[in-house]
């Protein structure tokens, strides 16, 4: 390629990055090609690596956090995992092979780390349940009532508290309750399909499983929701 043309293209790209840093809204228009360039710059670990990583962070932190929150159902855990996901993007940028869009790769990292966190919390919960006499390990509510540490979809269940506003739409409310009854992995597949709008193949890539398993998880989620609605006489 002509050297002057190359220099001009690089200058235009730098200008674009500067503009995007100052206006995060501009990031929403970035294509996967541009995201791949950013990952390449992060891999380079040069002067521009931190700027490129900043852009990737701003681009992917909201969807990663949304996924983690939907999967884990706990704000604190979702924040912690989101930070780890993006740190992993920095640390392991060189492992991105470009077979899938950058977003698919990033959500795949999020899926793995969410699953690890969920397993860790489940083990912790099981350990607590086997220690019935040691109340020091349990928390206390504001009223001093003993509360066993749990790990559940609190934000979805919290909908019940807002029943006044939900009563107008039973189906809507029941559906939210039904979503709260799903396992984290089932909530995860629904989120990827309907919040991220991923295709079956992309979901398989993100979750690191075959397409048939994605379909099975989706079928289980649908069955659980339908059963919940039917039980309530809605469906």
């Amino acid at each position: 390629m002509n050297q002057s043309l190359l220099i001009q293209e690089e200058a235009e790209e730098d200008h674009y990055i500067e503009a995007a840093v100052q206006s995060p809204a501009a990031l929403s228009t970035w294509t996967d090609h541009e995201n791949r360039d950013l990952v390449r710059k992060v891999v380079g670990r040069g002067e521009e690596a931190l700027t490129a990583f900043t852009l990737l962070y701003r681009r992917y932190q909201p969807p990663v956090f949304a996924f983690c929150f939907r999967f884990l159902g706990d704000r604190g855990h979702a924040e912690d995992v989101t930070q780890e996901v993006l740190y992993t993007v920095w640390k392991n940028a060189a492992t991105y092979q470009g077979h899938a869009p950058v977003k698919t790769w990033v959500l795949g990292i999020a899926s793995n780390l969410c699953r690890n966190m969920w397993r860790k919390e489940r083990r912790r919960e099981e350990r607590l349940l086997t220690l019935p006499t040691d109340t020091s390990l349990h928390g206390h509510s504001a009223t001093g009532e003993l509360v066993l540490a749990t790990f559940h979809a609190e934000p979805l269940e919290r909908c019940a508290d807002a029943s006044a506003s939900c009563e107008a739409n039973d189906r809507h409310r029941l559906l939210r309750e039904g979503l709260g009854k799903l396992s984290p992995t089932q909530r995860g597949v629904l989120h990827l399909a309907y919040f991220e709008g991923l295709s079956l193949r992309e979901m398989a890539q993100v979750l690191g499983i075959c397409e048939g398993t994605v379909k099975s998880r989706m079928a289980n989620a649908r069955r659980t929701l339908r059963h919940h609605l039917e039980h309530a006489g809605i469906c």
């Binding site: 932190q61 740190y87 934000p155 559906l175 399909a193 709008g197 079956l200």
Partner: protein
């Protein structure tokens, strides 16, 4: 030895379409398979009902929960500090 009947072609088609309905709803199916799913749904009451349910789920899950927290804003500074400390 099992004497279970094999599914008929019509049943196979129904099973295939049913398994793909979630992606028909989010419009990520390719053109040919999308047309195939649409054709089946038009003549299958069960798939039509399932489609209605999936569209409701899509609407519900497609928007953040009312009480969903927004992503924290101070995470970037913390992460950059962590990265710089390790360089």
């Amino acid at each position: 030895m099992s004497h279970d009947k094999l599914p008929t072609p019509a049943q196979q088609e129904h099973q295939l379409v049913d398994s793909l309905l979630p992606w028909y709803v989010n419009q990520s199916l390719s053109g040919a398979i999308c047309v195939r799913v649409a054709a089946h749904v038009q003549q299958c009451r069960r798939c039509c009902d399932e489609l209605a349910l999936l569209r409701t789920i899509h609407t519900e899950v497609g928007s953040p929960p009312i009480d969903a927290p927004v992503a924290p804003r101070d995470g970037l500074d913390q992460l950059l500090a962590r990265i710089k400390a390790q360089r």
